[in-house]
C-alpha cells in the first residue's frame, strides 16, 4: 500500500457524461470519481520512454488497484494531515442558525413499519421513530465533507447531538471544493477569436472553505481564502507485476489536461475505531453500518450481491443513483451507463459467526473497496468504512 498525495495545481475539469462539442453544455463535477485517478495512475505507471506502452493496458487494468480518493488537509499549526470524508447519509440534520434551538444531528436507523401502516417499500424502512420526529425541515447548505474526527465519533456513537454540540461537529467540516470558471474562445483560421464562440469550463480548485453556519446566505469570500486541500489515493500494484513508469511528479488529469502534482506520502489511513471492535467482539449478531466513502457499483441499490455473504443485510439508506460512463481508451468511445450508490450511502448488516470471525470481517472491509463488479472495485469504487449500527425495535 502506497498512499499518494495529489495536489491540484490548476482547476480540474472533470466532466459529466454529456458530450462536449465546444459549447457550454457539459458540466464539471465537484469531486473526481475514483476511476479518473485510477486512469491517471495506470497511465503514469505504464509509461516507457515518455510514451504509454499500450501492451501493458491489460495488466495495468488487472494489476493496479486504487483506493480513494479521500480529501485531506494539512494542519497549519503542526503540519499533521487530517482526512475528510463525504457526509454520511444516515445523519439527518435539521434546524439552523434561524432556529432557536440551533442545529440537530440525528441518526437515521432501521425502523419497523407500525402495525396497520403500509408503504410501497417492502423491506425495513430507514428513518426516525415518531417520538424523535422534529417539526423543522432538514437543514440546507450543510458541510459536504466531515472531518475524520467527527466521522470517527459518528462511527462509534451514532447518537443525537443538539445545539452547540451539533454545530461543533458541523464546523469541523468543509464546504464543497471551490469552483473556478474560465471563459474560453474558439480560435479561427486567422489565429483570432471567432465571434460568438465563447464557452466556459468549470473546474474545482485545491481549496475548500471551512463550513460556517449561515454561510449559504451567499456572503462572498475572497477566492484565495479557504483551506488548501489535496487528495489521497492508495495505489497498489499486484505482486510480480513489473511496471516501467512512476507516479511522482506533475501529471495531467481529466479535461483540458490540467496539472496535478503527485508525491508518495508517509501518511497512513486510520485503523478501525476501538469502540467498534469492542462492539463487534462483545455482541453476537452485532449490528454494524457500512458507510461508502466513494460511490459503489451495486446491481441492486438495496441488496448488493457483495454484502450477501457477510450476514443479514437489514436495511439501506441509499439515494438516487449517481451515473457514470467514462471514456474507454481501448475502444475509443464512451463506456456504457452505470449506476452507483453515492458516497455517504449506508448499509446496516447483522454479522454472523463467532467473535473472531466478526472482528476479522470488520478488518477485511475497513477502508477496502466493495461492490458487485471486480474491475470497478479495482478502479477505486466502493471504499467503505464500518461503524456501530443501532436500530429501533417495535
Amino acid at each position: 500500500m502506497t498512499i499518494h498525495r495529489i495536489e491540484v495545481r490548476d482547476p480540474m475539469v472533470v466532466r459529466d457524461g454529456r458530450i462536449n462539442d465546444g459549447r457550454s453544455q457539459s458540466r464539471g463535477l465537484g469531486f473526481p470519481p475514483p476511476s479518473v485517478l485510477a486512469g491517471v495512475a495506470r497511465t503514469g505507471l505504464g509509461r516507457r520512454d515518455d510514451r504509454f506502452d499500450s501492451t501493458l493496458a491489460g495488466p495495468l487494468l488487472q494489476g493496479v488497484r486504487v483506493r480513494g480518493p479521500l480529501l485531506a488537509a494539512d494542519e497549519a499549526k503542526d503540519g499533521t494531515t487530517s482526512l475528510f470524508v463525504p457526509a454520511p447519509a444516515d445523519a439527518l440534520i435539521t434546524g439552523g442558525p434561524s432556529d432557536p434551538s440551533g442545529y440537530c444531528v440525528q441518526p437515521l436507523r432501521p425502523i419497523p413499519t407500525p402495525a396497520a401502516c403500509e408503504s410501497s417499500h417492502q423491506g425495513i424502512l430507514v428513518g426516525l421513530p415518531a417520538s424523535e420526529m422534529r417539526k423543522t425541515k432538514p437543514a440546507r447548505s450543510l458541510p459536504r465533507f466531515w472531518s475524520w474526527a467527527a466521522f470517527s465519533r459518528w462511527l462509534e456513537e451514532p447518537t443525537t447531538l443538539e445545539g452547540a454540540e451539533a454545530e461543533a461537529l458541523l464546523q469541523q467540516g468543509l464546504s464543497p471544493l471551490i469552483e473556478e470558471e474560465r471563459v474560453h474562445v474558439a480560435i479561427g483560421d486567422t489565429g483570432t477569436a471567432v465571434e460568438g464562440k465563447l464557452f466556459e469550463t468549470s473546474g474545482f480548485r485545491g481549496r475548500a472553505l471551512p463550513w460556517r453556519a449561515g454561510a449559504a446566505v451567499g456572503e462572498p469570500r475572497r477566492v484565495d481564502t479557504g483551506v488548501a486541500v489535496h487528495l489521497q489515493l492508495d495505489v497498489e500494484v499486484e505482486a510480480g507485476l513489473e511496471l516501467p513508469g512512476e507516479l511522482s511528479g506533475m501529471r495531467p488529469m481529466a479535461g483540458e489536461r490540467r496539472l496535478t502534482c503527485w508525491s508518495a506520502s508517509s501518511a497512513g489511513w486510520p485503523p478501525p475505531p476501538s469502540g467498534l471492535l469492542d462492539h463487534v467482539r462483545a455482541n453476537e449478531r452485532a449490528l454494524v453500518r457500512l458507510i461508502l466513502l466513494t460511490p459503489a457499483y451495486v446491481e441492486h441499490s438495496l441488496t448488493p450481491r457483495c454484502l450477501g455473504e457477510a450476514g443479514e443485510l437489514l436495511a439501506a439508506r441509499v439515494d438516487r443513483p449517481q451515473t457514470i460512463s467514462g471514456w474507454d481508451f481501448a475502444r475509443r468511445g464512451p463506456k456504457k451507463t452505470r449506476r452507483l450508490a453515492p458516497a455517504g450511502s449506508v448499509y446496516w448488516l447483522r454479522l454472523a459467526g463467532d467473535a473472531d470471525a466478526r472482528v476479522a470481517w470488520v478488518h477485511e472491509r475497513w477502508l477496502q473497496n466493495i461492490g458487485d463488479d471486480p474491475q470497478l472495485r479495482r478502479d477505486g469504487f466502493g471504499l467503505a468504512a464500518v461503524g456501530i449500527g443501532t436500530e429501533v425495535t417495535a
Partner: protein, 635 residues
C-alpha cells in the same frame, strides 16, 4: 379510514435536465399530468366522489389549467395497497399515452426511421423514469392530523431507501454517446444522423442531413435519450396559449419560447415606445429575402407565447447576432447568408440605436411558501386541509396570470411553488405581486411558529442569468437563490443572484416586509437611472469589504477594528466619487441616502445591491427610453 400520501418523482433532476425552455416546461407539465392521473386513478378505484377522497390537491382535477403538485394526500377506505397500485397503474398508463403520442412525431416521414431512432430503448428509458412512492396510516385516536403525520413520517422513511437497479437499456450502451441534456442515458438517435458536423457549410451534404436532424428535434451535435425526445416531442397543446394553439397545425414541432425571447422583452418594449415598427418590418423583410430559399425560417424556429405589439409572434432570438447565426446555420444557411443576416441585424440595431444593444439577461424566479408545514400540521381536520389546498390553487392560478401580465412565462405553479421566467424590467413588480398575492391568500391559515401564530409567507429566489447560459445550470443558481431567500431570518425573504457571463456570482438578500426590500432596491435602481452615482461605486464598495474579509472566526476586537477600517475607507471613497458621468460631485442627499442604506455599516452589501440594481436599471432604461431621456435632460 386511512390517510394515504403519494409522492411522484424525481422532480428537480427531471425538470432541470433541460437545454431549451420547451424541455423545462414539458418536464414540469409531465410531472403535473402524471400526478393528476394518479389522483384520478385513486378516486376512480375508491368508488367515492373526488371531494370526499382528495385532500391535496383539492378537487377540480379536470381543469387542465391547474398544475398538480407531485404529492397527493387522500383519505381512503378499504385495501390501501390496492388503491395505491391502482393510482400507480393510472399514472403509468398516462405516461405510456404521452410517450406514444410523442414518439409518433419523432422522425415522422424519414426514410429508414427505424434504423436512426432506437425506439425500443427509448421506451425502456421512459418506463424506467418515474418513481412512485406511497405510505398510509390509519386514523386512530389522533384522527386525521395524527394519521397524516404518521403517513408522512413513513413516506420520508420510504424515500430514504431508493430502490434502483442497473438499467437493462444500457446493456449495449458501450460506444454510444450520452444525452446532451443530463448525460445519464444513452442517446437513442443513431450516429448516422450526425454525418455532417456542425459548422460544415458544404451545401451538397447539409440539406438532407440537417433536414433529417430537424425531424428528430435535435440541434447541431445534440444527442437525446428517450426521455429527452419525450420532452422535445411531448404535448404540442398548451392550454394556456389561446393564441399559440392556432399555430400548431404545421407538424414542425410546437416551440414555446426561448430564453432570448424573455431577455429581449425590455428591447421589444423599447421598440414599441419609440414606434420602431417600420424599422422592425424592414429588418424582417430583409431576413425573409435572405432565407427565402429555405423551407424553414429562423424566426419560425421559436414561437413567442403571446403577441407582441411590434414583433408579433416572432421570437426575440433574432435580435441577438449569435443566436441568429446559429439558427440560420441550422436551417442550412451558408456562410454568406449568415453574414448578410448579421449585417441586416446590425443595420436594424443602428436604426434604433437609442435603445442600445438588446440586453441578454433575464430572470428565473422560484418562489416557495414559508411555514407551510406548520400550517398544514395545524389542519387537524380534513376539511380544513382541503380549504388550504383550495387556497393554494387560487394562488397558483393567480400566479400564472401575474407572471404573464409582467411579460414572463410561468413554467410551473402548483401548491406553494412557483417557477417562471421574467424579463428584467418587470422583475420587481412581478416578485412583489407574487409575494403580496400569497400573503393575502394564506392570511387565514396561521399556525404556531417559534411561540407565536404566524401565517405562511412567501420567499422568492431570483437568478439573473445570461440567455445563452446552460439552462440547467441557471436553474441550479435559481435554487441557490431560493435557499438564500429561505435563509433570511424569519423568512419572507427575497434573494437575487446575478451571474454575469464569465464572472463571479453576486448575491443579495433581504426581507420583503420587515426590510421593505423591494422598495430599497427600487430606490437604488432610481439612483442608477437618474445617474446620481458613478458606475464604479458599486465595485469599489464591494471591494472595500472583500479586502477586509477574514474567513476564520476573529475576535470581537479584531472585528471592530476591521469594521472601523471599512467605515473609514467607505467615507474616503464616497467623498471622491462623482456623478453625472464624472461632471458633478456626489450630492449630499445621495450620500445621506447611501448612509441610510447602510453604506458605512455594510459597504459590501450595499455594493452588491447596487450591482444587482444596475442590471434592472439598464433594462428599465431600455424599456422606457423616453423616461431615460427625460431624466438625462433633467440632469
Amino acid at each position: 379510514m386511512n390517510v394515504l400520501v403519494i409522492s411522484i418523482g424525481p422532480v428537480q433532476e427531471f425538470i432541470a435536465s433541460a437545454r431549451k425552455c420547451r424541455d423545462l416546461w414539458f418536464g414540469s407539465w409531465l410531472l403535473s399530468e402524471l400526478s393528476r392521473a394518479a389522483a384520478q386513478g385513486l378516486v376512480a378505484a375508491s368508488g367515492q366522489p373526488e371531494d370526499s377522497v382528495l385532500v391535496f390537491p383539492g378537487t377540480k382535477l379536470e381543469s387542465k389549467e391547474l398544475h398538480v403538485a407531485n404529492k397527493v394526500v387522500a383519505r381512503v377506505e378499504g385495501d390501501v395497497a390496492d388503491l395505491a397500485r391502482a393510482a400507480e397503474r393510472a399514472m403509468r398508463e398516462r405516461l405510456r399515452e404521452i410517450c406514444e403520442a410523442a414518439f409518433k412525431r419523432v422522425g415522422r416521414g424519414v426514410r429508414n426511421r427505424g434504423r436512426v431512432f432506437h425506439e425500443d430503448t427509448a421506451r425502456q428509458q421512459v418506463e424506467d423514469l418515474i418513481e412512485f412512492l406511497w405510505a398510509a396510516a390509519p386514523e386512530a385516536d389522533e384522527g386525521y392530523g395524527g394519521a397524516r403525520a404518521e403517513a408522512e413520517r413513513l413516506l420520508a422513511a420510504t424515500k430514504a431507501s431508493k430502490l434502483w437497479a442497473q438499467p437493462s437499456w444500457a446493456e449495449h450502451g458501450a460506444g454510444v454517446p450520452k444525452s446532451s441534456l443530463d448525460g445519464v442515458r444513452e442517446s437513442v438517435l443513431d450516429e448516422a444522423l450526425y454525418d455532417v458536423p456542425r459548422g460544415d457549410y458544404d451545401k451538397r451534404l447539409h440539406e438532407e442531413v440537417r433536414g433529417r436532424r430537424r425531424q428528430f428535434g435535435v440541434h447541431g451535435a445534440e444527442r437525446l435519450c428517450g426521455v429527452g425526445l419525450l420532452k422535445r416531442f411531448g404535448n404540442y397543446e398548451d392550454p394556456q396559449l389561446k393564441d399559440g394553439t392556432a399555430r400548431i397545425g404545421d407538424e414542425r414541432g410546437y416551440r414555446i419560447f426561448s430564453t432570448t425571447h424573455v431577455a429581449s422583452a425590455p428591447f421589444r418594449a423599447g421598440l414599441d415606445a419609440i414606434a420602431g415598427d417600420a424599422a422592425f418590418a424592414r429588418y424582417l423583410e430583409r431576413l425573409e429575402q435572405l432565407c427565402d430559399q429555405y423551407e424553414l425560417k429562423p424566426w419560425e424556429l421559436e414561437v413567442a407565447p403571446a403577441k407582441d405589439p411590434v414583433t408579433g409572434y416572432v421570437d426575440g432570438a433574432i435580435f441577438y447576432a449569435g443566436r441568429l447565426a446559429d439558427e440560420i446555420e441550422e436551417i442550412g444557411g451558408d456562410e454568406a447568408t449568415v453574414n448578410a443576416a448579421t449585417k441586416a441585424l446590425a443595420a436594424f440595431l443602428g436604426e434604433v440605436r437609442q435603445l442600445g444593444e438588446p440586453i441578454p439577461y433575464y430572470a428565473i424566479v422560484l418562489a416557495d411558501g414559508d411555514n407551510m408545514g406548520a400550517a398544514i400540521n395545524d389542519c387537524q381536520e380534513q376539511g380544513r386541509h382541503r380549504d388550504l389546498s383550495h387556497a393554494l390553487e387560487t394562488f397558483a392560478t393567480g400566479a400564472r396570470a401575474l407572471v404573464s401580465k409582467h411579460g414572463g412565462r410561468l413554467i410551473y405553479s402548483g401548491g406553494d411553488d412557483v417557477l417562471g421566467l421574467v424579463p428584467l424590467h418587470r422583475l420587481l413588480d412581478c416578485v412583489s405581486g407574487l409575494e403580496g398575492s400569497f400573503g393575502d391568500t394564506m392570511r387565514p391559515y396561521s399556525a404556531k411558529v417559534d411561540g407565536e401564530r404566524r401565517s405562511p409567507t412567501l420567499s422568492v429566489g431570483v437568478a439573473i442569468v445570461h440567455a445563452l447560459d446552460a439552462l440547467d445550470q441557471s436553474l441550479e443558481l435559481t435554487r441557490e437563490a431560493e435557499r438564500c431567500a429561505k435563509a433570511v431570518a424569519g423568512k419572507n425573504g427575497l434573494a437575487l443572484l446575478v451571474k454575469p457571463r464569465g464572472g463571479a456570482v453576486v448575491r443579495v438578500s433581504g426581507a420583503f416586509e420587515r426590510e421593505h426590500y423591494v422598495e430599497r432596491l427600487r430606490q437604488l435602481i432610481q439612483l442608477h437611472r437618474a445617474d446620481l452615482l458613478s458606475a464604479r461605486t458599486q465595485y469599489e464598495l464591494m471591494d472595500v469589504a472583500a479586502r477586509l474579509v477574514d474567513d476564520e472566526p476573529v475576535s470581537a476586537q479584531r472585528r471592530e477594528t476591521l469594521d472601523q477600517i471599512a467605515r473609514a475607507e467607505t467615507r474616503r471613497l464616497l467623498a471622491r466619487k462623482r456623478a453625472a458621468h464624472g461632471q458633478e460631485k456626489l450630492a449630499e442627499e445621495v450620500l445621506d441616502t447611501l448612509e441610510g442604506f447602510g453604506a458605512f455599516d455594510d459597504p459590501q452589501r450595499l455594493g452588491r445591491e447596487l450591482y444587482v440594481a444596475s442590471h434592472v436599471a439598464r433594462a428599465l432604461d431600455q424599456a422606457e427610453p423616453a423616461r431615460a431621456q427625460e431624466q438625462e435632460a433633467a440632469q
